[in-house]
């Protein structure tokens, strides 16, 4: 079922001179088993939207349904909602605090009131899922490398068994290999656990490679909600919103301008190379 967002708006500091409308009549669905990219410049409203999704903020107007139920309805169990719609904040490694990795990951399940045994089971499963075997369990979180810390933090949210996992800029500050590792891991997790991932990102190249749907926020509005190739077709409009398309699209656009009949709707280097090779014909072949 997933999340259904019905015409929500949100205003910060209503009735004061500082009043800001952060979300402006947004409607969309976040179905099960989907990989969604959420993009938008700083201040576009994407963080506000994300905080709506697990009930941290309440819309000033409109409704949010999770599995068919209004999350702000009377008697709705929002604690359970926060387990089901897991949120991994930016730089989640700053939120590790327990004495060892295993206890840190057990913190969430413990808060759900699960038995000690169940917490331990979930924590170890989650840690294995993020590629951190038993040798990490008793380590202090502070002795981990940057990438390991981040994976431990993700495990902490995974241990809540979310149906939807929202990650806010999970690759910020990581080197290219680290970026690939985390995104590969997330993609793998999605396949195994069949959950929905919402990836909040500033990197169009990352988004293009992994997601099957992109939501674009601008000035509190949802301006695009479509498959990547459709969204990136609007790269000129994206630029006016402080965003961009993946690098490879610009390269292909330019080659086309220069008269090469290449496909401009590619999203990765391999398909770009395929398309270029196809236009080169026999002229370009032979070993260099």
């Amino acid at each position: 079922m997933g999340l259904k967002i019905e015409d929500i708006s949100f205003t910060y500091e209503t009735g004061t001179a500082m009043q800001v409308r952060a979300l402006n009549h947004i409607s969309c669905e976040i179905p099960d088993d989907r990989f969604i990219g959420l993009i938008g410049h700083t201040g576009s409203g994407k963080s506000t939207l994300v905080q709506m999704l697990n009930g941290l903020l309440k819309p000033t107007q409109g409704r949010i349904l999770f599995n068919g139920e209004d999350i702000h309805g009377d008697g709705y169990d929002r604690k359970n909602l926060r387990a089901k719609v897991g949120l991994v904040f930016q730089y989640p490694e700053h939120q590790l605090f327990e004495a060892d990795v295993l206890s840190d990951v057990m913190f969430g399940p413990r808060n759900l009131g699960l038995s000690e045994e169940e917490c331990r089971k979930r924590a170890s499963e989650s840690l294995f899922m993020v590629g951190m075997g038993e040798r990490f369990f008793k380590k202090s979180p502070f002795d981990l490398s940057g990438g390991e810390k981040r994976r431990a933090a993700i495990a902490g949210v995974l241990a809540m068994h979310p149906q939807i996992l929202i990650l806010d800029e999970p690759t910020a500050g990581l080197d290219p290999r680290g970026r690939d590792e985390i995104l590969g891991l997330i993609s793998e997790m999605k396949k195994k656990l069949r959950m929905t991932i919402v990836l909040v990102s500033h990197s169009m190249d990352d988004v293009a490679r992994y997601v099957d749907q992109i939501m674009v926020m601008n000035n509190g509005k949802l301006v695009y909600n479509d498959v990547p190739s459709e969204v990136f077709r609007h790269h000129k409009e994206l630029e006016t919103m402080g965003l961009s398309a993946p690098q490879v699209i610009y390269i292909m656009e330019y080659l086309k301008e220069r008269g090469l009949p290449v496909n401009t709707e590619v999203l990765d280097i391999q398909s770009a190379a395929d398309s270029i090779m196809a236009c080169m014909g026999p002229a370009g072949r032979g070993r260099s």
């Binding site: 938008g40 700083t42 290999r177 690098q247 032979g286 260099s288």
Partner: protein, 282 residues
């Protein structure tokens, strides 16, 4: 401008009794010379020592062994500490952690005030600094209301107001959206070209390195590769081994060569790629 000789830095870990339990070598005998006015980009995977290096140039860290000279001053010379920090300003990843005042111009004035620049001169410096980062019209605004790119430019203005000869930027764009990234990079280039300030930019975005005078790739606390962007980015395989990428154009050109297309190995821009492809066809 900067002279680094056989720089070694060990981070010491202490156990509960305060005794040293572990030594981690972050810099392992690094040599580096930076000429005045150079624009240098430092690349390297997480943990390769690049941030440690940056902190040495700003005298926030001191060598375990070896020497660091900034404009003729040795960083271990306690008397010169403040001069060094003034000459080599530093910008960090998160602008929110660097902004302290409620109003943009007050934030920029903070540095000069601290070193006792007289009032009238401060006003002038603040104005000039904000102008050179293109933020003068926001002087009376609250930093909280600015975008990430604008905040980072205010931080840069704060450093420039100290009249440094060199700015070290440690992943200044990591937290910014694409337009913020472009703004900050443009500002860095402008300061370098128009005001002759030496820039050392640390980044994980390969695209940001294309216009540098020199690219330095670090690995295991040492320089693994260096040269012009063209030289460095034509070594695709070595870069991959170092956990890094090359700009997308270079990667695409490399892939095309791998598939047998006869184009040069050192393509860096889309113009060069188009030229090369046209040559193949004709």
């Amino acid at each position: 401008m900067i002279k680094i000789r056989k720089l070694i830095h060990d981070y010491l870990k202490h156990d509960e009794d305060g005794a040293v339990s572990e030594e981690i070598r972050a810099l392992a005998g690094l040599d580096l010379d930076v000429k005045p006015g150079e624009f240098i980009v430092i690349l390297g995977h997480n943990g390769c020592g690049k941030s440690t290096l940056a902190k040495h140039i700003n005298a926030l860290l001191f060598p375990s062994e070896g020497e660091v000279w900034v404009d003729g001053m040795n960083t271990v010379d306690g008397e010169k500490l403040w001069d060094i920090r003034q000459e080599a300003g530093m910008i960090f990843q998160n602008p929110d952690n660097q902004i302290i005042a409620q109003v943009v111009e007050e934030d920029v004035a903070f540095g000069p005030e601290n070193i006792g620049v007289p009032g009238e001169k401060i006003r002038k410096r603040v104005e000039e600094s904000l102008k050179s980062v293109g933020m003068l019209e926001y002087r009376r605004k609250s930093p909280g209301r600015l975008s990430g790119g604008q905040k980072q430019r205010v931080c840069i203005a704060g450093v420039i107001a100290m009249r440094p000869k060199c700015i070290i930027m440690d992943e200044p764009t990591a937290m910014l959206d694409p337009s913020g990234r472009v703004e900050v990079l443009k500002t860095a280039r402008q300061l370098n070209r128009e005001e002759g300030i030496t820039v050392i930019l640390i980044t994980h975005y390969m695209e940001e390195a294309i216009e540098a005078d020199r690219v330095i790739v670090m690995d295991k606390g040492k320089i693994a590769l260096q040269g012009t962007p063209r030289e460095v980015f034509s070594r695709v395989e070595e870069m991959k081994d170092l956990h890094l990428d090359v700009p997308q154009v270079s990667l695409l050109a490399w892939e095309l060569r791998r598939r047998g297309l006869k184009i040069p190995a050192d393509i860096l821009t889309r113009e060069e790629l188009a030229d090369a492809l046209e040559k193949v066809i004709s």
